[in-house]
Structures are given as structure tokens and as C-alpha cells.
């Protein structure tokens, strides 16, 4: 199962929670310091800029080592098969390095481990692609198995998105060979699967036993919301069936069952938005707003009621006026919804990178000669660094 020590990851959560409480000024700096001392995190997590540097340099090292290996072995192995085997052996060694760096050096999202993980998968998949005649279905199956294993082992959320897409690809490639029936049921099957994934995630996302996979689950939740809409969006269905199944629809002609896809295109975004406001789910709300824009583009693509500049001007005006009234209406919170600037942890997650960049960019520059080595006040050191990890 997961490569990291449960206890270390728990300490990480505890530190994050304490950091949030400190930022909201619910606990004092002293209390925060005692918590941080009692639950010290021994994982190696460098600053984001150092992480970027480590990632790049690791990629250079691995690729150069591969070059060296190929040069050394070039004479001995002059066939395609030999090269294939070398690639796989090399991938195995990168993986061993990855396990070693995490287990004995305690790297956690340090850039080195990120690079090694992606390179392992990259080497395996490109080797298989270059040297075997693999079908798209087998290809998606291979990527799915590898990314599933990597997600379980390393709890990497980007990896879980690869897993999700390869799973969708498996469904796609296994249904399309079944001729007409396959083409017609494809959108419905994909939609049902996305919905099922969404509800499975809903059931498990707050389970304590899989707390370390919470970012992976969040990624799956987001992607399943997106695909549920995309696979029944009128534009996507019409143009993709035209492209993939050689339908050759004349301009203006509708697809069979077009009314259904129009219905879903128009209804799903508002459904998301209202559902989100009811359940107070910010991820769903943002997805809904984003998809609403997609719906507007879809409608305009097929029915242009007015020239684009008129639509833009009118739409802009409506948006400004509507938002203005909503902001005014929410001056006092209604139904537990407010317009106050959020200070909660969700925001912190999504804006984490940004806040680091900002705090790094706008940090206070100590004036030389003004008593260096002198830490005034002991307050939070430059915003994003309050939890002492960067």
C-alpha cells in the first residue's frame, strides 16, 4: 500500500490544521510552537522553488544516465529487443531509486520523487510503445494499471487524473468496436460511469482510513463532474460522432436524439450550481460556473442570435449588474452563504502555490545594518511561511 509512513502523514495533517488555526488567530503563536514541537514532521519537504530546481536537475541526471547506459551497452545489444529490455531495466532502477529516496531519505513531494515517479512511467510506456505493436485498448489498459498502482503507492493526485482518463479510454475503446449500438450507447455509458465514480467518491471521501488519499479523491470528484457534462454536451457528441464515426452530417443537421443532448447541455450546469449552493460545495460551484460558460459557447456555436460584440456587451452588462445585486444581497449572510472573504482551508489548498509565490515576491526585505539576526515580534514570517515549512 502507501509508501509513506502513516504516522508521518498524520503529523503533516496536524501541522497543517494548526497552521490554519494560527492564520485565523484562533490559537496563539506559543500554542502553535508547542504543537509543532510535539508533532514535528520529519519528512523532507523543500520550498516550492527548490522543488522545481530539484525536479529539473533530476530529469537531467536520469536522462544523461540513460544516455550513458545506451552508449555502454550499444555494442552488446544491437537489436530492438535488446533496447526494449534496457529501457525496462532502466525503468526498474529509477523505481528502486524512487523507493529508496522516499523510504530512507524521507522525501515527500520534494521534486526528486516527483521526477523519478513520472520518469519511471514514462520509460515503461514509451518503451512498450516504441517496440511492440500495441493497440489503443491495450495501451489504455497498460497506462491504467501503472497509474492505478502509482496512485495507490504514492497518493499523487496528478497520477490519479491519469488513472481516471485511462479508465475512460478503456471504456471508449472497448465499446466502439460494437458498431451502431456501441456508438449510440457510448455517451450514456460514459455518463453513467462518471456519475457512479462521483457517488463512490462521495461515499469514501471522508473516510478516515483513506485520509491520505484525499487530494486524489478530490481530483477524481472534479474530473467526474467534468466528464459527466462533457460526454453529453451537444457540441462534443455531435462533432465527435462526425469525426470518429464518419457520420458526415450536413451543416445544420442534428444528430439522432439531439433533443436529449440539448437538454443535458442546458440543464447540468445550473443543476451543479444549485446543488453546490445547497450542499455548500465550492468545487462543484466552480465547476458549474465553468460549465455554464461551456453551455453558452455551445448554444452560440449553433444558433448565433446576434453578432459577437453585441452578445459580449450585453452579456458583460448583465453579468456586472447581476453580480452587483448578488453582492449587495449577500451583505448580510443568507442561507449560510456569505460574500465575506473566505479564510478557510479549502481556499488555502487551492491558493497554496499562489500564496507562496506572493509571499516570496512581496516579502519584507530586511534593510542591511538594521540589526541582522534580530527577529522582531516573533510574528508570522511573511504570510505563507507561517507554518514554518517553507
Amino acid at each position: 500500500m502507501i509508501v509513506y509512513n502513516d504516522n508521518s502523514l498524520d503529523r503533516l495533517i496536524i501541522n497543517e490544521e494548526a497552521g490554519i488555526a494560527l492564520r485565523k488567530q484562533l490559537i496563539s503563536k506559543n500554542e502553535y510552537d508547542t504543537i509543532a514541537a510535539a508533532y514535528a514532521v520529519e519528512l523532507y519537504r523543500p520550498n516550492i522553488f527548490i522543488r522545481i530546481g530539484l525536479f529539473l536537475v533530476t530529469v537531467v541526471i536520469v536522462l544523461m544516465s540513460f544516455g550513458l547506459l545506451v552508449l555502454v551497452a550499444a555494442d552488446a545489444l544491437d537489436s530492438n529487443n535488446g533496447f526494449f529490455v534496457i529501457c525496462l531495466i532502466f525503468a526498474f532502477f529509477i523505481y528502486v531509486a524512487l523507493e529508496w529516496i522516499i523510504q530512507s531519505k524521507r522525501h515527500y513531494r520534494s521534486g526528486v520523487d516527483d521526477a523519478l515517479l513520472w520518469l519511471t512511467l514514462g520509460f515503461i510506456i514509451s518503451a512498450v510503445n516504441l517496440f511492440t505493436g500495441i493497440t489503443p485498448l491495450q495501451q489504455s489498459l497498460l497506462i491504467f494499471i501503472l497509474s492505478l498502482a502509482a496512485t495507490i503507492r504514492f497518493a499523487n493526485s496528478v497520477m490519479s487524473s491519469v488513472m481516471f482518463f485511462s479508465f475512460i479510454a478503456i471504456i471508449f475503446y472497448s465499446i466502439t468496436p460494437y458498431g451502431n449500438i456501441g456508438k449510440h450507447i457510448l455517451p450514456f455509458v460514459l455518463m453513467s460511469i462518471s456519475v457512479i465514480i462521483y457517488f463512490i467518491v462521495q461515499i469514501y471521501k471522508n473516510k478516515n482510513a483513506i485520509r491520505h488519499y484525499r487530494y486524489c479523491l478530490k481530483m477524481l470528484e472534479f474530473l467526474s463532474l467534468i466528464t459527466t457534462y462533457t460526454v453529453v454536451n451537444y457540441f462534443a457528441v455531435r462533432e465527435l460522432s462526425n469525426l470518429l464515426f464518419d457520420l458526415y452530417l450536413p451543416v445544420g443537421a442534428s444528430i439522432p436524439g439531439g433533443w436529449f443532448f440539448w437538454l443535458t447541455t442546458v440543464l447540468i450546469p445550473p443543476l451543479y450550481i444549485f446543488g453546490a449552493l445547497k450542499t455548500k460545495d465550492s468545487l462543484m460551484l466552480r465547476t458549474g460556473l465553468f460549465l455554464l460558460a461551456a453551455t453558452i459557447f455551445t448554444i452560440r456555436y449553433y444558433y448565433s442570435v446576434a453578432p459577437v460584440e453585441v452578445v459580449m456587451t450585453a452579456g458583460g452588462l448583465i453579468l456586472i449588474v447581476a453580480t452587483y445585486f448578488v453582492i449587495k444581497y449577500l451583505r448580510t449572510p443568507k442561507y449560510g452563504i456569505t460574500d465575506k472573504e473566505p479564510e478557510d482551508e479549502d481556499m488555502q489548498d487551492s491558493l497554496q502555490l499562489e500564496s507562496i509565490v506572493i509571499s516570496e515576491t512581496f516579502q519584507k526585505i530586511p534593510i542591511p545594518g538594521a540589526g541582522e539576526g534580530f527577529n522582531f515580534g516573533g510574528g508570522s514570517s511573511g504570510g505563507g511561511g507561517a507554518s514554518g515549512e517553507y
Binding site: 484562533l26 541526471i61 544523461m64 449577500l330 449560510g336 460574500d339 526585505i365
Partner: protein, 323 residues
């Protein structure tokens, strides 16, 4: 927040009763905020409206006329500056906090419309003629003045970009060198000059304590410009590339000291990457003959130096974090 964790803290005596109460109270009163969503929609609305109006004006330019549009831009610009002048906090050589959220955006809009106005005049009426230097010099002066007068980092960045454009234009009219393919060389030396100038301005702002928080912006620009010029010089003058190692190492040393002084991870990363690219270029140039043996050496150089860079970055992370 997870209440269970804080109850555990309380049980272990890590936080006081009041803190636990505060946390429980905040958590139970937690509201669902749609602040950023609404702001994004508002921003989108403004973007759509201005874009739509822009296209409308563009399509109907024959009936509206250039004077009217120029007048509109001037009016908008004047309005922005009028607002900023009315609402600005008193001038100080220290950092000044902006009076409200909109102030910064309105000032930025004023400066952007000012640039648009000048560009429009030049394109439509050719007001500066062929003196392109003047067309960038005047906005530059105004932008620098605004940046210091209103204390705005964004305007300062625009001013520095304008300075670079002006210098780029100012050095090119010397057409004699172009025939000898010195055109790129000029840009490289202009870059070094500009970078040096910005370093001086950064030092000046710190030592004289005139808007000392501008130092980071100056240093950031100067670091990127200086390193890029230096590495470009290395590529361009391929017979003297070894000589360019001297300024490169001097730069690395200077910005290393700066990165330590302001404990900036960002500066540390950038200088490491620039130095790595520059030094690796020199090493590969020295090693790459048509000889398989040196190729081995080059690959081994990359592996060994890469491991060294990793160790260096890890050590720097520790060093900067301690500060």
C-alpha cells in the same frame, strides 16, 4: 478544520480552554463564502463589456472618428488619475499602504490608458515622427514618476519594461555595426548595461531608503536580464565563450550574496539554474569533439554535476530556512 484534532491537542494540554472554545465557535459559525466566485464573475463581466465595446467601436470607427475615441481614452485616463490623486495617501519615502482595494486597479488602468493614448497618437498621427526613442522615453518617465509618487509595484514593473524598450531602441540606430552582424552584440551589451543600471537602482533604493521595498523588483529584473545577456554572450561570441565565464561567476557570486541576504528561495533557484546552464555550455564546448570518449565524459559530467546541484539545492534550502 478538524475539531477532533484540536480536542486531542486540548487533552494533551497543548492548547488552552479558550483556544478550543474559539475554534469550536468559529467552526460552528462557518459560512459558505462565494466571495471569489462573485469577484471572478464581476471581472469577467468587465472583460466582456470592454471587449464588446472595443469591437463595437472598432467596427464603427468611420462613423465615430479618431478624435472622439482619443478624447474618450484621454477622459478615462484623466478620470483615473484624478481619482488616484484625490484618494492617495500622503507621500512618503517608506512603503505606503493603498487606501482601498480599487485604488491599485484604477491607477493601473490610468497608466494603461495613458500608454494606449500615446501609442494611438503615434500610430494614427505619427506625432513623434521617426523619433521612436522619444515615444518610449516620455511614457517611461511618466511611469517611473507614477510608480514612486503613488507607490505601485505593478507600475514600476511597467516602467522598467519601458526602460528596457527605450534602451533597446536607443542602441539600434547605430546602423554601421549591423553590416558586421554586431546587431545582436549590441543588444547583449545593452542588456548588461541595463542590468547593471537596475542593480544600482536597487542598491540606491535600499541605501538611501527611498522606497526600499522596490529593491526586489529591481533586483529581479536585473538578475534575469544580466544572466540572460551573459549566457547569450557566451552563445554569440563562440570564440570567446571562456571569457564570458568571468562575468557569469561574478554575477553568481553577487546574486548568491543577495539571495542569502534577503533569504529568497526564488533567487537561489534562478541563479543555480543560470549558472548550471552557463557552466554546462562551457564544459560541453570543451568536451565535444568528434570522439566517443569525450561523449562519455560529457554524460558523466552531467550526472556528477547534477548530483552536486541537488546536494547544493538541498543545502541551500536548509540554510535559507534557518534564517
Amino acid at each position: 478544520m478538524n475539531i477532533a484534532i484540536f480536542e486531542q491537542f486540548h487533552k494533551e494540554g497543548l492548547i488552552s480552554d479558550q483556544s478550543l472554545e474559539r475554534i469550536k465557535k468559529t467552526e460552528s459559525e462557518k459560512l459558505f463564502s462565494i466571495h471569489w466566485e462573485l469577484r471572478t464573475l464581476l471581472y469577467l463581466g468587465v472583460l466582456l463589456l470592454t471587449g464588446g465595446l472595443g469591437i463595437l467601436i472598432y467596427k464603427n470607427i468611420d462613423t465615430i472618428g479618431h478624435q472622439v475615441i482619443l478624447a474618450l481614452i484621454a477622459l478615462l485616463c484623466a478620470g483615473c488619475f484624478f481619482y488616484c490623486e484625490r484618494n492617495k495617501p500622503p507621500f512618503s519615502f517608506e512603503k505606503v499602504k493603498s487606501p482601498n482595494v480599487y485604488f491599485d486597479y484604477i491607477l493601473l488602468l490610468g497608466c494603461l490608458t495613458l500608454l494606449t493614448f500615446i501609442t494611438y497618437l503615434q500610430v494614427q498621427y505619427n506625432i513623434f515622427g521617426d523619433r521612436y526613442g522619444l515615444a518610449t522615453f516620455i511614457p517611461m518617465i511618466i511611469l517611473f514618476y507614477c510608480a514612486y509618487y503613488f507607490d505601485h509595484l505593478g507600475v514600476l514593473s511597467m516602467a522598467v519594461a519601458n526602460l528596457a524598450a527605450w534602451m533597446g531602441i536607443a542602441v539600434t540606430p547605430l546602423k554601421i555595426f549591423k553590416a558586421n552582424n554586431f546587431a545582436d552584440a549590441q543588444i547583449i551589451f545593452a542588456g548588461l548595461l541595463l542590468g547593471g543600471l537596475l542593480v544600482l537602482m536597487a542598491r540606491f533604493s535600499i541605501t538611501k531608503k527611498i522606497k526600499s521595498h522596490f529593491c526586489f523588483t529591481y533586483l529581479n529584473f536585473s538578475m534575469n536580464i544580466l544572466f540572460i545577456s551573459c549566457i547569450a554572450g557566451m552563445f554569440h561570441f563562440d570564440s570567446f565563450y571562456l571569457l564570458w565565464l568571468v562575468p557569469l561567476i561574478a554575477l553568481v557570486y553577487y546574486f548568491y550574496r543577495q539571495a542569502i541576504a534577503i533569504s529568497s528561495f526564488y533567487f537561489m533557484l534562478m541563479l543555480t539554474l543560470y549558472a548550471y546552464v552557463g557552466i554546462s555550455y562551457v564544459v560541453t564546448q570543451l568536451l565535444l569533439f568528434d570522439n566517443i570518449g569525450t561523449t562519455y565524459l560529457a554524460l558523466m559530467y552531467f550526472i556528477a554535476s547534477g548530483i552536486y546541484v541537488i546536494l547544493f539545492l538541498i543545502r541551500m534550502n536548509k540554510k535559507l530556512k534557518k534564517q
